[in-house]
């Protein structure tokens, strides 16, 4: 496969980011906040509070294959092997000091929204006790079947307003609306570029794989609202557009166009991408990477937009997830679905058998469920996974032949 050159910049970006994070950690008037994805990071960039994502750090640990050292350390602290491996990696690095990024700076504040999952709330509660710092939960009720819920809107909006007050207390200064607008602008640009990047996957062949998208996620997660994120995605999009013109695919010989459900299996990015490339299977889209295309807000009422987003976009009834998958199947002209039943992420995984059946009923497309873990290689067998994928690709080949 012909590699995407602009993705190489990710190393420099992450190095600079973690250097800045550690600097912030050593600067008394530069507070550090730990966040998860569905939180208003733009507010913190606008207030000079440095945002850090423990999930991102844990993913790096997984990709660098140090989970096998970190997770057992957390288990030694009493945390069950059944818990999310991101959390175990995070607690493991705190215990051992081992980390490819020299760890994370100590936080001054923890902010988490449960529009993502309940695991993060409990994980951050542990961190709050370890570091003895305050924690703020943005409690986002489930979206039900998508009906408008004014009481839930008031509840979420009010919490975001409170969060701003807390951030002002921590930083010792009021939120500068002009700086917030600037941060929101940059965030919008990065989100638009990210969306454009994902949309380019509809081309045939798709110029990139979902593995490339996973590799390129770091700035859209950690640096929304900053210039480096915009610059990085602008370069990636430009290169991908060129690849589309030249007909260069993410895999050498694109025979199958597939959907990836759930988080990546970070320790197996290379082995899985190599296997799929050799078999002409291109993972062209994933609901996981699409999540970051929905995170931009307007400048007029950003709190209202965040409220809408957290409440109605992410924590959805399964039937709405099925609708989204059905739309993506058509949009990307998919041949099938690969579902990662992820032991570490019950939130995204427990209803997968029903999602798979419902999507197949709606689209007529087959799906395979592979049971693994996003970070802990002790909890799955790569051989079994590849054997399941072998069978699935054979099925797809016979379907193509029959058609």
């Amino acid at each position: 496969m012909q590699r995407i050159e602009s993705l190489k910049n990710i190393k420099q970006i992450t190095t600079e980011y973690f250097t800045a994070a550690h600097m912030a950690g050593r600067t008394p008037d530069k507070p550090v906040v730990y966040l998860n994805v569905f939180t208003p990071v733009e507010i913190f960039y606008a207030m000079d509070i440095f945002p850090v994502y423990p999930e991102n750090h844990a993913a790096i640990c997984g990709a660098r294959k140090v989970t096998k050292d970190l997770a057992p350390a957390a288990e030694g602290m009493g945390y069950s092997m059944d818990l999310c491996a991101y959390a175990r990696c995070d607690l493991g690095w705190i215990k051992t000091g081992m980390s490819p990024t020299f760890g994370l700076p100590k936080p001054d504040l923890l902010v988490v929204s449960n529009a993502q999952c309940g695991t993060l709330t409990k994980w951050f509660e542990v961190l709050s006790r370890i570091y003895n710092v305050p924690m703020f939960l943005i409690d986002v009720p489930h979206a039900g079947r998508g009906e408008k819920d004014p009481a839930a809107e008031r509840y979420v909006r009010n919490q975001i307003e409170e969060l701003i007050k807390l951030a002002e207390e921590i930083s010792g200064k009021p939120l500068d609306q002009e700086r917030l607008k600037a941060s929101i602008q940059l965030s919008k640009q990065a989100s638009a570029l990210w969306t454009r990047m994902l949309e380019l996957g509809t081309s045939k062949p798709s110029p990139m794989t979902v593995f490339d998208q996973f590799v390129s996620m770091f700035p859209i997660v950690s640096q929304r609202g900053t210039q480096p994120a915009v610059d990085f995605y602008a370069a990636v999009v430009a290169e991908l557009e060129e690849r589309v013109k030249q007909g260069i695919g993410g895999v050498d010989n694109e025979r199958f166009r597939l959907f990836w459900d759930n988080l990546p299996i970070w320790p197996e990015l290379k082995s899985l991408s190599t296997y799929l490339d050799e078999n002409g299977a291109n993972l062209v889209t994933s609901i996981y990477t699409w999540a970051w295309s929905m995170l931009s807000v307007g400048e007029e009422d950003p709190i209202g937009d965040w409220t809408e987003q957290y409440l109605y976009t992410f924590n959805l009834h399964m039937s709405r997830r099925v609708e989204q998958y059905t739309l993506l199947a058509e949009h990307y002209d998919l041949d099938g679905f690969v579902y990662h039943s992820n032991r570490s992420c019950k939130y995204l995984s427990q209803d997968i058998p029903e999602v798979r059946d419902a999507v197949t009923e709606r689209t007529g497309l087959p799906g395979v469920i592979i049971e693994a873990d996003h970070n802990d290689p002790r909890l799955y067998s790569l051989e079994s996974m590849l054997s399941q994928l072998d069978n699935f690709l054979e099925l797809l080949a016979s379907r193509k032949k029959a058609n």
Binding site: G118, T121, E125, M135
Partner: protein, 377 residues
């Protein structure tokens, strides 16, 4: 019902609770709404004219469910799916699944797809208990639930009916609290197992009948004075595995307080009788010790727990943690550490674990008892 044995009506219910509910339905023609426990306001279901019946999947062996929910899910969820697929719950007219963790969220999705003909409700409980807007949100959610079930039964969702239900459930809880307290003063008669029988059956029978049955219990029997037992405090989701209460009795443990959703936590708080009954239920909910899936100030959480244990005069703590329950698994190490610092011994029993037998649990409890006995001055 046996006149001689005042415990028999409760036993009859719990020998086969689902059959009991089915027979009740055949006899009365009433509607039944199942619920998978944590913090579902039974008063609302009762006021809407239906019988609330607790559904506990923990002890159910999964077979049909295996194709629909991954094995790394807790048995509470797997067992519920299993019972639904087997048709064990087909007498239910409705089902409430409360949102207390990621698993209950997904259980609702799975249930709603597999059993679409049932009137399914997802009770979206706020995870914050310290926020004024959480109260407003919960109020709206309770109102929605009342309207929804009143629509199912054809009754009007009116405040007067709900106020009557609140009164009845308060009376029931008061009586159950009295029974719970008798464990400590008269454990020969009021064994842990019998008190569990009362609590479990209360979640599956019409409360007025249950209350009437409780009146016949031997409240004046003072034949047995408090024996020398080890006072313990229990924290967990539900009382599981089945038979755990009897096991604790046999081993000389007395449960002085517990924070399970089928235990003392469920009866500790009443809803105020003056004023709006929905508001009263919100107040009751917020005053109840938060379930592990809720968020409270993390730095106070462990200290508050130790204070509650100390206030109970318990000698030790037993955690009944269901296998694969993330919330409990995140909390417990720090809880245990805080207990250790306060010199309070504790034991974690991983319950609902497929393949774990009662004899294994029995062995661990025995070793724990010996350890505590050695520890006594």
């Amino acid at each position: 019902m046996s006149v001689e044995d005042p415990w028999s009506p409760f036993r009859e219910v719990m020998e086969s609770p689902l059959e009991w509910a089915r027979t009740w339905k055949e006899k009365t023609g009433g509607k039944i709404i199942g619920h998978v426990l944590p913090d579902v306001p039974e008063e609302i279901i009762h006021a809407a004219g239906a019988l609330p019946v607790a559904i506990e999947g923990a002890a159910v062996q999964a077979s049909h469910a295996l194709g629909h929910i991954p094995t790394y899910s807790c048995n509470h969820a797997m067992g519920t799916v299993e019972m639904g697929l087997r048709g064990d719950l087909d007498m239910l007219d409705g089902m409430v699944i409360p949102y207390v963790c990621d698993t209950t969220r997904n259980l609702f999705h799975i249930w709603d797809r597999l059993i679409p003909k049932m009137h399914n409700e997802f009770l979206r409980l706020p995870k914050r208990t310290d926020h004024s807007m959480a109260r407003d949100y919960l109020r709206a959610e309770f109102e929605r639930l009342y309207e929804s079930f009143a629509g199912l039964t054809g009754k009007k969702a009116d405040a007067a009916a709900l106020a009557e239900s609140v009164k009845l459930y308060n009376a029931s809880r008061a009586k159950l609290r009295e029974a719970y307290a008798r464990q400590q003063t008269n454990p020969g008669v009021w064994t842990g197992e019998r008190v569990r029988l009362l609590l479990d059956s209360s979640l599956r029978t019409p409360r007025d009948e249950h209350l009437a049955w409780m009146e016949n219990l031997p409240w004046n029997d003072q034949s047995d004075v408090a024996a020398e037992t080890i006072r313990i405090y229990v924290r967990g989701k539900v009382w599981d595995p089945p038979g755990i209460a009897a096991l604790l009795d046999q081993m000389g443990f007395t449960v002085v307080d517990d924070e399970t959703v089928t235990g003392y936590r469920a009866i500790a708080q009443d809803a105020p009788l003056n004023g709006d009954p929905i508001e009263a239920l919100v107040q009751r909910h917020m005053a109840t010790i938060p379930y592990t899936g809720y968020h409270v100030e993390p730095r106070k959480m462990t200290g508050d727990f130790v204070d509650r244990v100390k206030a109970s005069n318990a000698r030790a703590v037993v955690f009944l943690n269901p296998k694969f329950c993330e919330a409990a698994a995140f909390d417990t190490p720090d809880f245990q550490k805080a207990l250790q610092e306060a010199s309070i011994p504790s034991l974690i029993l991983e319950t609902s674990a497929r393949g774990v037998s009662t004899s294994q649990i029995s062995l661990r409890l025995e070793a724990f008892r010996e350890m505590i006995a050695d520890d006594l001055p």
